[in-house]
Each structure stands twice: as C-alpha cells, then as structure tokens.
C-alpha cells in the first residue's frame, strides 16, 4: 500500500458537519457554485466551493494553494538572510511586520540583542504598517459590499502617504526587506521623523472623514451587523487571532501579552467587540488605528539616537547554534509566527510560517452557513486574507 493509496483511503470525516446535515436529501434543489479562483472579490486566487439553496449557503469549502510556492522549502534551502525578502511576499501589505516577526524569531534562536533605536524604528514601522493594512482592509471590505471604489480610493490615498514614508526609509514601497537580525538595515533618512509626524498627525482627520462616510451609513450597518458571526469560544478554539479575535470579544493582543519590542512602554487600549460580526471586525480595526496613532505619536518623539543594528550580528555566514525557536508578533492580520529549527548550518533546518490569514480562514464556513452569497463575500472580506500568506 503506497502512501498515496492511503491518502485516498483516509480523509473520511469522523463527525458530520452542520453543512452536510443541511444538504442531505436536497441535492436536486441545490446549486453548486465555484466562487473563484477567478472571481472579483476573493482577494486573489482563492476559491470557495459553495452549495447554495437559492442564495443561502448550505456548504462552503475554501480551496486554496493556487499561489503556493512552498516558501518554507525555499527558505530551508537558502541562508537565513536570503529568506528575509521572501517574508515580504507573504503578506505583501505588511512586509515590515513580516520582517519583524522573522527577525524576532531568528534573534530568539541566535540570542541577538536589538539596539534601542532599532526597536523604536521597528515599532514605528510596524504601527504604520498596521495603519495601512487596516485602512486598505476597510476599503476592500466596502468594495466587496459594492461601494464602487470610493472608500477604497480614499484608503489608497492615505496608504500612499504611508507608502511614501516607507519608501523613503526602505527604498521600496511594498517589498521592504528592511529588518535584519539584530536591528534594521539602515538608519532613518534625514527629515523622516518629521514627515512621519506629519502623516500621523493628519491621519486622524482621515479617519474622521472615513467614519463620516461609512460608519454611520445605514446600508453598511445593515449589511454587516449580524453577518458572519463568530463566537468567542469558536474563535479561541480555531486559533483565530488579531482584530478578528478581538471583535469576538477575546482580549488577546500579543503586543500586550508578549510585550515584545518596546510595546510595554506605551499605553494603548485594545478595542473589543461584543457581537463578533463583520461590523465589529470593521469597527475594531477602525478603533485600533486610532490606538496605533496613540502609540506612534509619542514613539516618534522619543526615538533615541544610536546604532540601528547589533554589531555582533553577522550578515554573511550567519550560523545560529543548533536549537529551535518559535517567535511571534501581533501582525495586523493576527499572530504571525515563525518556527525555526537550526542544525548549525547556514540554512534553517526547519522554517515554518504560522500564517494568520490561513488560520483565520478555518472558520469561514462556520461564519457563512445559512447566510447569503453576499454575506459570504463580506465575511471573507472581513477575515482580511492575503493569498500570498494563505498559500505561501
């Protein structure tokens, strides 16, 4: 018996899902639709195999892998440093937080220290990344709701300002490849802090505008409230993290729990939802952006002078001691973790990404059952997936 045969023999479910129970005996009436991989609002090449009763979803199976490039295998065959630009391409909206998560894991593995200034830069760039990710998500969510691009374009207008900052710092707008083990690649260019202060100061104005445009809109509320509900128990069990978890009312933010970096120095609050529906997810993100601004403002004032990289960290020929480490940060989409096993060679022996988008998708079916196609699209939008990360 080959493995392949066994594969086919296995895979029979041991318990019957709600979806299957609903669908029993109604095969003739149900409509099977493959939404995706080419579909306007699946956020990339993502597929949902949906079974519909009229427009009500009775079964939904997410299918992905269309963008799978086996990032982990590539990383196991290259040096630690060479994986850094690949992490940019996981969640291409938040390459700086991806960089940080990876750098943090390697620092844990190798026991490297990060200079003070680099910690500040990391914190600032990560929070800017959070701002732009949440802004874009709100835009995309509204786009999925059919708001013909207006919120999306406003979001992109603001994102552009942050991207300009990131570009002047890292040289690239999206694929930053900025952090290094034990610090950051380069120092802030002159005038950067002032430019960042200006952007941060004006951001709340944009958030106000955005909220006037949307948050009170009756159609938006009707479309999102009570849609895609996710209970706190299921969210915890399913390992849902990030704003999606907090929208379900669970207070778990790694910036507080792990207090990695210098997050402990700045007071900020964690907005929590109570209903766990799409509206809560949207609002939690909007509120989180305001909290991010509260971190950014003092951090930009306090940023000290000093080196940006640990002088002990080697760029070439970097070989951590044998061992393993799991490092995680609170990415904008949720817990982004890197699990690394070193065998003392220049390449990681095992390199594993814990992608928040993928694991947040686990509950997609639970969220969408019994709702309509339109709700499924909105629920998917509120999960905030990036296929680069889901498929890796």
């Amino acid at each position: 018996m080959t493995l392949q045969d066994l594969t086919q023999a296995m895979g029979k479910p041991t318990f019957q899902r709600k979806a299957e129970v609903i669908g029993i005996g109604r095969e003739g009436e149900l409509l099977e639709v493959a939404m995706g991989p080419q579909h306007p609002s699946t956020h990339g090449v993502f597929r949902m195999d949906v079974v519909l009763d009229g427009e009500t979803i009775v079964k939904l199976k997410p299918v992905f892998g269309y963008l799978h490039r086996n990032h982990e295998k590539i990383a196991e065959n290259t040096s630690y440093l060479a994986s850094m630009p690949y992490t940019d391409r996981l969640d291409y909206f938040c390459s700086l937080t991806n960089n940080w998560a990876y750098a943090l894991s390697v620092e844990k593995l190798a026991g490297l220290q990060v200079p003070e200034r680099a910690e500040y830069i990391r914190l600032i760039t990560a929070e800017l990344t959070r701002l732009l990710n949440h802004t874009c998500l709100a835009g995309f969510l509204l786009q999925d709701m059919g708001a013909l691009g207006t919120p999306l374009m406003y979001a992109f207008r603001e994102r552009e300002k942050i991207l300009d900052l990131i570009e002047s710092l890292t040289g690239a707008r999206m694929m930053c490849n900025y952090m290094r083990f034990g610090g950051c690649r380069c120092d802030l260019p002159p005038g950067w802090v002032d430019a960042a202060k200006k952007v941060v100061a004006e951001y709340s104005k944009f958030l106000d505008e955005f909220e006037t445009l949307l948050s009170g809109n009756e159609i938006l509320m009707a479309r999102t409230q009570g849609v895609g509900k996710l209970s706190a128990e299921l969210a915890v069990s399913a390992g849902v993290t990030g704003p999606m978890l907090r929208a379900s009312g669970v207070d778990y933010d790694l910036r507080k729990v792990d207090a990695y970096g210098i997050y402990a120095r700045y007071p900020f609050r964690i907005p929590l939802g109570t209903h766990g529906d799409v509206y809560d997810r949207y609002m939690v993100r909007m509120l989180e952006m305001r909290e991010s601004l509260k971190i950014l403002e003092p951090a930009l004032k306090d940023i000290p002078e000093g080196p940006v990289v640990d002088p002990k960290a080697k760029l070439r020929g970097f070989r951590p001691k044998p061992g393993e480490a799991y490092g995680r940060i609170e990415g904008p989409k949720g817990e982004l973790g890197f699990y690394l096993i070193s065998d003392g060679s220049p390449n990681p022996y095992r390199y594993r990404v814990r992608p928040p988008s993928l694991i947040n998708l686990t509950v997609l079916e639970d969220m969408c059952l019994g709702q309509t196609v339109a709700d499924a699209i909105v629920s998917l939008g509120s999960v905030d997936i990036v296929l680069g990360e889901v498929d890796r």
Binding site: G65, A325, Y339
Partner: protein
Amino acid sequence: MAMETLEQIKARVEAAVPGAQLTLVKNDSPSAQHSLLVSVEHAFAVAKFLRDDPQLRLDYCSNVTGVDFLDAELSEKVKVKKVVDGVEKEVEEVKKTKRAGYLEVVYHLYSMALKHGPVILRQRISGRSDPVTVTSLTPLWRSAEFQEREVFDLYGILFDGHPDLRRLLMWDGFKDYPMRKDYVEPDDYEYEPTAHDEVLEKAKAHMPKHEVKA
C-alpha cells in the same frame, strides 16, 4: 502569570493520564523553548488534559507543523538534531552510530484565558516511508484543522481522527510530499527561463519550439 515549568507539567500529566510517558526534549538555543514529547497513543488524552486543566488551560493551539528528520549518523558530541545528508554506501561503512529517520508533528500551545505559553508538544513517529499516522488534535483545537491538513499535504503524515483530511495547498492529483527532506523536485513543470546555462537547457525542453531563443 508565571506558568509551571515543563517538569511540573510533565509530572502532572503523567499522573493524570494513565500510561502516558512524556519525554522532555531539551532545546539548547538561547530561546530555551523546551518541549514535551508524547507518544501517538496518548497524545489525545494528554492534549485534552493540557487544554482542560484549570492551571494550564491551553485553549489556543497556535502553530502545528511537521518536521522531517532523515536517517542520520550521529557523531559523538552532538545530541539529537545533527543531520548529515545522503544515505550513501561509503558513508555507512564508516563506523558511526546511525539514527533512524523520523517525522515529528509539533504543536505550540498557548493559553488565551491565562495568557501564558508556549507549551510545545511533539508527536514523533519513527519510520518515514511507511504510512505514518499520528493522532489528530483537531477535535480539541479547531485551529489544527487546516494546519494538520497542511502537514499531511506537505509531509505525508496521516492524522487519525481528522474530520476532513485532504490536500490543502497542493492539488489533489499531486503524488509526493514536497516538504520532506528527501523530496526531489520533478523536472516536469514549466520553468521560468533564466539565463543560467543548465537552467536554460532544462527550460528548453519545456518551452514551445518557436519561443526558444538561440
């Protein structure tokens, strides 16, 4: 809140789950994330204990992954994870202790309720070519559902008790397990032709005739 040490946890688990034998796997790196090795038979009970125990309440399974360890020769000074590639004949004749390869599934458990962690749980199965089966922990943590599917997909480890064990990232007709260390990439996909001579040669075989440049 400070968590118990792994030794304490081990002792309590062994007391609570009859027959369970846990091994503490030391981690020498500066991260000092040690882990608990549990046998496949007792994995479910142990995991259930870890999840439900009021002092631990590891309600959140953050990360599930497979690790592949090839057959290896252990030299004297290195303990477990030292790996030498290849199983060539000449090497075998050299007198060194041989370690049979094995597969591992690693679970990183945290507690959202008590905000502590991680407790790292490993299921290890020796033998890499036979059908390798471990216990699925999806019934305990939904978050393991897709991750175990991914491990199955990329490592070929079967999960007993998984509700929907299908390939996740590779397509259904795919025959191999690409994350295994001895995986040989097939020469049957379309190359993006880069100019390296050997790659270009390889690529030529897959390119339509008219597109091949001299």
